[in-house]
Symmetry: D2
Subunit: 358 residues, 4 copies
């Protein structure tokens, strides 16, 4: 619990934004997986700020150092410890506001919870913690691909109400990476980019939705009744910073349908059971049915703005604050690897649970 | 994991739809709580089918028998075992279809997972399992009220797109119970009722959304970074049958706002820190901030229909099936106590986690 | 935690000595096991008081009622709920002493922990709770035998210093059951029986040691570094009432040997790796090596005596107490099925953990 | 599970003997503890090989680097990541034997479990992993002292049958550290030292017993029925390398007593409930009673010898092996800080569990 995610494929993350390092321990990855560290590095780079003019400019190198659990390039079955050094961080701009609760950040709630807080760069509540998740998720993703041929692809599905049209059966990593917004609908991607630039100029931020699909998941993954596939995916997604909503398959839109439309008819295709529609999003009664697993995750506009805001201080003053520096007007493109990482972690966990059946 | 929910306030449920009984064990409820068994019974009655002409007609008495953990009316700190006897169940109508995968039910996925399945009334995948959750949730709810004055209220917020207007700060249990739909907006409630009756006539089903608020939750509940309050609520809600979506605070609608609108300004009210808006839904960085905790849960139209449907059998035939008998065209009213139960279980768990801080 | 044992093969027990019932839920037993309920009944009978003049006379029928998780005689993969009704219990002899802390019982510690206690028959601290473990252990034992051919045999190895000579490679259930003491060394068994009768006359109690072997456990079970096979066995055994010691393989006696004597040389027998001695007790670095797993568990003389004892009361008086009624002068014979049950539960858990490796 | 110990005060360790580093993450330590890093260093030094001519000569510096969870010298409530760099390790002497199963090591069992193994210095099975436990235990120990005044002291109680006489009520850290054997009975300590030197000359190894006491533990710690204080202590101790036995309070010797001798009479001392004897070892029904918690842990003679030994190889040859290099003839002195660390981790965990009661 707390800083550990997963039951059998487990990751424990640690680290603060402005501490010396952050990292994670992956415990439970089966032995014998040839781990491609370059591929891990690619995922880290996708999450990293400063990839394009669209995203936050902090220069993070985010190289992953593996300290255990590998021998001659393969996982040994023992815990894989991964560290990312924070490099030089400058906490001085935070010092001025160390008594001030930034609106809609964790400043106030951490202080109520723990009695005091590490005010440097958001401390543990910083989105920087997710770098460790991406590293762990990259291991899970490789194991899923190696063992089962599962692939997981996420994309920016909407920004500020601009909705992309994406075919989840066909979308590829290449489609997603083709545009800095990570929206695989080129026309909408351009509109999104313009809106993001406008928000930057306004020193404001935009929210949106990330879509995700996991293909080639075998039927039978997911545990009744509390560790349902959808429930664990929801847990993982809502644990991401700024996430405020999750839907699986038809989701909220499915509430507008009648059962006779929503039910997915079973058919036989080359002797295999399939469904002709996929409103279930690949999950029925919490268990995968072999169809693509689909979901969407809502992210609010991030709380960090470069505009003046009204708030209070820990010593009981009402103040106006404005934190200098450049900001990231839209985290959606960088949320794409996070959604993929959490999806991979959940699926790897469910795969190991299903192995209990022998 | 699996059939256990919670970390410190834990419930393990067991039982199948047509077995002799179902029940749960609540482990971790602190000692000394005077348990009101009548109040538990009220919650059970709210979940029970056949409460009104709007809901499923199966006559379930659903009396809870407490077998342990109580002494002279108070909890002892040891596990509370609760049993609900299933009474006489008639599995004969299921026998005919025991080789047939009902569309969008768990028949196919359970069989892929376990190799075979209890086909009587849906077995473990039946929504009847939730009776055990309601019993456990009733204990959690009483403990939260007794210790902290927390109250949890859910309501039907939408059916088939008919959206109610509900003030989450003011809505009461009495408002919710005033109409068989459990929608506290009287005008919309009537429209919903008519739509549900029409769906019944069509032997079809409708989906919708349940809203929920938890008031008087102290600031500081919720655990970084994976056991965030929102994440555990999402886990609990997506573990409910037919749930396909969850949103906290502003949710999906919040993605349409700019950060400058979405951020909740802090102010001092009688020396207490509050926010002037509550787009965060009472949770910031995964931790409660003392404002009302708000959420919405999407439920698809239930899969059980009285209409002919296309499907396949376990021995590889494509067939049309129609299961005789009355059905429940809309589970939303009965989902209200389920959402409350899961909310109470999550909050009780978080309360105990926070006690670690001393 | 708390009232749940195991990670993947999990049992949650509940119930008090003088409540209406006690029981357990087994969650995680793989689907498809044909469960022999008569064999479960045999284990229950072995634990039951009043089997012979050597043991406690309380008449407990201890029939197990299975309420879920079985379909057509096989496990379904869902939780198996088992209940044992307590029948008519008479708490009146306890009422007189409800303010008195019985020496070396849980009366005082439960009251310090929870603020009050169920004083009827020891409440949750009663050894009667172990009936639920025996039921769960019987399921685990059947699964281990069915899947792997593992057999688990325990016996009374010593009473009050009278030490039996038992060949753990050859001892059979029949050998153990041949004498009411459950000591398979006939000469020592007779001496033990006489000592137990003498202790009964003295209204006193005797302690002793239970030995146990698990044969045909495949190599590879046990998890580095905290869920080592020995560590989980120790956890299980020390969770039994009156257990005060555990040793694996050579145990405390092994501390008298030199490493050159203690190390178990590897040899090839018909191409299979074996060891010529088994001081390791079948476990090396926490993982089974394919040799028989051996252990011993120390049980103190039970605290319930029919003699006057000095103690204090909850309202601060020093008193002498003597609790009327017959007592069980030596629980060792009845501890045999408990040690077997915990061993089976641990091994089933480890077997499922190892399945993660695929 | 696996590489995580504890429920609420949790430590996850990682690292191999000859990898770049090893370490741990402590999750759950309450916020606000002023952490004395020098005191952590003292514990690390006590575990370190090469402290005296009695112990293994590998030069390990074992400085702990704290990477997270501290702010201005105090714990923040978030995970504390600690790393110990391995420095330069020479794996060449192991390369020659990489196909050879060292007797009574984990070589064979790891290979059966995982399919292959890191043969450098024992990999994950090396006792070097315990350095991470000592670091974590040092945090737990400081928290226990700071919050409750608990102190934990272990000592070498026996080596190869030479039994010390130690008063667990009075023994101090200073007494233990006064002799390189860490045996606080000076006469026996000298005899032990001579025996250890003789074993070194013989290139052999000796086993023994570590005693431990935890004083000032409040009554009420320990959880019925599976997370009993004794059970968790047994789990922790049997997870230590080379540990083969555990006893609590009177332990195996207690099986020789009658109940009337063994029961600990309650008395009032200055209005406080105490017992006149402490055969229970401070724990009754699994819960602390306020008296000193006492235990003993048996360690076999370590498997690493400098003598020729008979064994087999992974490609099916029977061979004789002798591994060159100096060895540690008796790990008992270095096991002392390990037993203290595990005791502190268990007690911190139980303390947090008890806080649930409010």
């Amino acid at each position: 619990m707390f800083s550990t995610f997963g039951h059998l494929f487990r990751v424990t993350t640690w680290g603060e934004s402005h501490g010396p390092a952050l990292g994670c321990t992956v415990d439970g990855c089966p032995a014998g997986l040839p781990l491609d560290l370059d591929a891990v590095g690619v995922e880290m780079a996708r999450r990293r700020p400063g990839q394009s003019k669209l995203v936050t400019p902090r220069k993070e190198r985010d190289e992953v150092q593996v300290l255990s659990g590998l021998f001659e390039g393969r996982t040994t079955g023992t815990p894989i410890s991964m560290v990312v050094w924070n490099g030089d961080v400058d906490s001085s701009k935070y010092e001025k506001w160390k008594q001030t609760y930034r609106p809609s950040h964790g400043d106030y709630t951490y202080e109520k919870k723990y009695g005091f807080r590490d005010w440097r760069g958001g401390g543990r509540a910083s989105a920087r913690e997710t770098a460790a998740r991406v590293a762990a998720g990259a291991v899970a993703r490789q194991w899923l691909a190696h063992e089962f041929g599962v692939d997981v692809i996420a994309w920016v599905d909407a920004v500020a109400g601009m909705q992309a049209a994406v075919d989840s059966d066909a979308v590829s990593r290449q489609d997603v990476e083709a545009h800095p917004t990570r929206c695989p609908d080129p026309a909408v991607a351009e509109t999104m980019a313009a809106a993001i630039q406008a928000a930057r100029v306004d020193r404001d931020s935009l929210g949106g939705v990330v879509g995700c699909v996991a293909r080639h998941v075998p039927a039978g993954w997911g545990e009744p009744v509390f560790a349902k596939a959808e429930a664990l995916l929801a847990l993982g997604m809502l644990s991401l910073p700024a996430a405020k909503g999750f839907e699986s398959g038809s989701g909220f839109a499915g509430t507008l349908m009648r059962g006779s439309e929503h039910n997915d008819p079973f058919v036989l295709v080359d002797g295999e059971v399939q469904t002709t529609s996929n409103h279930s999003g690949g999950i029925q009664a919490g268990i995968s049915n072999g169809m693509p697993i689909t979901m969407r995750v809502a992210f609010k506009p991030v709380a960090t703005l470069a505009r003046p805001q009204r708030t209070v201080t820990s010593d009981g003053r009402e103040v106006e604050m404005v934190m200098k520096g450049r900001h990231d007007p839209c985290v959606l493109p960088r949320a794409v690897p996070l959604v993929e990482a959490m999806t991979a972690l959940v699926l790897a966990d469910l795969a190991l649970m299903q192995r209990r059946q022998g």
